[in-house]
Symmetry: C2
Subunit: 446 residues, 2 copies
């Protein structure tokens, strides 16, 4: 029986343990943090996550989707809140399609249960990876509480240790011809908890992702099981409307009152709650190759992204689907599996990141724009009539398992077509006309 080391008991490491166990491997997981199921600590970044098709598919592939379903709240669309508190609803996809809100802490705890109970994995906590010999399959760990050192040799190493992967930093970055980049975007985020009503009910529509788009910044809210919402303000660090301006409870209070009046009404104590969560940064990390010797990077360690398409977790879970397919294809010849995983999956990591950055601008700048909403309406209308010719970009990304790289390319093509369609005279009146339909059909032929 082959012995395998997984570095990181996060979402991807925990799920991958189940797949490996299914294939007959003995799995040991080493996690840097304490067990979040026992301690009152956060599981890192705490933006709520949105589980969508790729994630569900990977969970189903491991036979554990049902164990997650009860903590996932469906959000079939987004609700935009304008300055006057007026609401606009936009469905994400077709009827019966939704993305699902899960809290990071909740889903991570659940995934650890699954790794232990279904994956028969042994998880050791407080184990910081201090180095590795990837050719030999050796990892060095140090216990962060006792200082004790441990060296672990195994047949394979799966580095599922996040955006700032210790395996990657300690043992891959200095390899000749290893490409790497970490790029922080100019915005940061701060979380705010909008509590439930006294009777435990939700203060705003439960089954939706709420957005207060304000151009250069935005507030979003995702539902929790207990009636509360995890809200996140995304905003530049510096400049006119920026975190650097919100230096006192008074200023925060005034800012929310003026900018998010309907939110402020629900949470007039925002000024005091402001410091409950820290200001955090957002980065994209890219690297290549994703493997070396007996080790491979998966999830954020390979392709960490900004959260604006809600695809980070889904992409990490999909890595498990892809790796599993390669295991079948190459009959567990791991040299071939790792090599093909790097080559095949890298463009999709890049595509995921390009999509995420793109949606950052869409959510911030366009989601409230009538022209953008009209464009999306035309696309949905056309797509309903010609589903084989047009799958909207959001649906390709969220409600399909089309490769991210393909979705991104197809999305750019669709955008250039819609750029032309939107110049049609009197488009507001003609949006569902035959003229517009033929124009799209014609442009698709080009």
């Amino acid at each position: 029986m082959k012995e395998v080391t997984i570095v990181g008991a996060g979402l991807v490491g925990s799920l991958w343990a189940v797949y490996l166990s299914k294939a007959g491997y003995k799995v040991r997981i080493f996690e840097r943090r304490p067990d979040i199921r026992k301690a009152e600590i956060s599981a890192g970044k705490s933006i709520n996550l949105a589980l969508s098709d790729r994630g569900w598919k990977a969970l189903e592939g491991a036979g554990v989707a049902d164990r997650v379903r009860d903590i996932a709240i469906p959000m079939p669309g987004r609700i935009m809140h304008d300055m006057e508190g007026k609401l606009t609803y936009q469905a994400y996809g077709k009827e019966n399609q939704a993305i699902y809100s899960v809290s990071r802490g909740g889903v991570n705890a659940r995934m650890m249960d699954i790794a232990e109970q279904v994956g028969n994995a042994e998880i050791t906590y407080n184990m910081k990876c201090t180095g590795a010999d990837l050719k030999e399959g050796i990892c060095h760990f140090e216990n962060t509480e006792t200082g004790a050192k441990q060296t672990v040799k195994s047949d394979l190493i799966f580095a599922c240790d996040g955006a700032f992967s210790a395996i990657r930093y300690n043992s891959m970055q200095k390899l000749d011809r290893f490409n790497y980049s970490q790029r922080y975007i100019e915005d940061g985020y701060r979380e705010v908890l909008l509590p439930a009503n006294e009777d435990g009910s939700y203060k705003i529509e439960k089954n939706a992702l709420h957005i207060w788009p304000r151009g250069r910044f935005m507030l979003i809210a995702l539902p929790n099981e207990d009636g509360s919402f995890t809200c996140t303000l995304f905003m530049p660090y510096e400049g006119e409307n920026s975190f650097s301006q919100l230096t006192s409870a008074d200023k925060v209070d005034r800012f929310f009152k003026e900018t998010f009046p309907d939110f402020y009404e629900m949470m007039p104590n925002i000024g005091e709650a402001w410091e409950d969560h820290p200001l955090s940064s957002l980065a994209i990390t890219r690297c290549y190759p994703w493997h070396h010797g007996k080790a491979v990077l998966m999830g954020d360690a390979a392709h960490a992204t900004v959260p604006f398409y809600g695809q980070g977790m889904n992409a990490g879970f999909e890595d498990c689907t892809v790796m599993w397919e390669l295991m079948q294809k190459h009959n567990e010849d791991w040299e071939k599996i790792f090599e093909e995983f790097s080559i095949q999956r890298k463009p999709d990591g890049d595509g995921l990141q390009d999509l995420s950055l793109h949606n950052y601008h869409v959510m911030r700048d366009y989601v409230a724009d009538p022209k953008f909403l009209l464009q999306k309406k035309i696309e949905a209308h056309f797509s309903a009539k010609h589903p084989e010719k047009w799958l909207p970009l959001y649906s390709m990304t969220t409600f399909s398992d089309i490769r991210y790289s393909v979705a991104w390319k197809e999305g750019q093509r669709q955008q250039s077509i819609m750029d032309e369609v939107m110049t049609t005279e009197d488009i507001e009146a003609k949006w569902d006309s035959e003229e517009v339909e033929s124009k799209i059909l014609e442009l698709l032929e080009r």
Copy 2:
């Protein structure tokens, strides 16, 4: 008297020691390698370097230019060798303008002498930087021969420790919002030494940079003082014409015979000499910010580039000029100096790298192209008539101290003008006509 730590006794660290000493600082330098003046070791990458105006200006600012002049061989132009061994000469600038060939080992040894003798610096060798506390001004070193550890506290830290800077890796990369990238280009290089004739004379023109441009790859040669040439083959790692194909002395022999016949004639033993030097990679590293606490990055540590514009050393030396000017401006208020150095100099680091990548393509693909040579002739002709309106890009980069960022932008503008000029009918005949001159003047006004 303020005490200062310089990490790295390379070209930039050694020169910067002189400037600091001039300002009354006590300088200690810690170098990872042994003393190259005593040991038979290479000073890292050994492509010969081309010293040009920015470099000379920085050496003169420290009053040490004369100490370098005797090991520098002027190269007023480049000589292209075609497949038939036919030579084409192209001057780099005006009469009396030249770039200067220096061997990396030779100039580094000389700069260490200067650091000790003029900069009163104390250099300690075999000292590997294992970590640092940049807020406190503390560096940790380990002696690579004895294993002894040493902690050094000083008022300021200058990290001049190269493309893969230990200070940057150990103490800056994990800082929140620190941007970093290392990107290897698809080409590598291998050095070949073309020996002098038996009487010590040069086998080809001494005072020139020789290029054998072959489209996707090229060979270059720079003169040494002893009659030899340091030659470098730049070529992709993989593919049709690539290092991966040159797997035996026979294959190398055949490749040179067919591809560089005039070179092969001078060095028929190339097949055996092939393994004298290793195949090495080429990378661009970018990062931001360049400072933190009491430390700042200079030279390659801040903006390592590929060698195709011959500006890596010159840019590093120019960092000394810029830092020195900021010292005067801010009266040695180092917080302000470091901050402004990062903000002001970063675009020039980027510009330097963009220029280097651009010249990589120019040298490889265009330098032998009659159309390209004609374009350069037109530019030179126009520039001679209207020197205040047009300084060729190569001259801006090499024979001026115009900011790299400005040169790069201006170069792109010139290129778009020349793109139009070169479409003129019968341009080969009219290149020095009034028609072409007025066209350029008109396009410059746009």
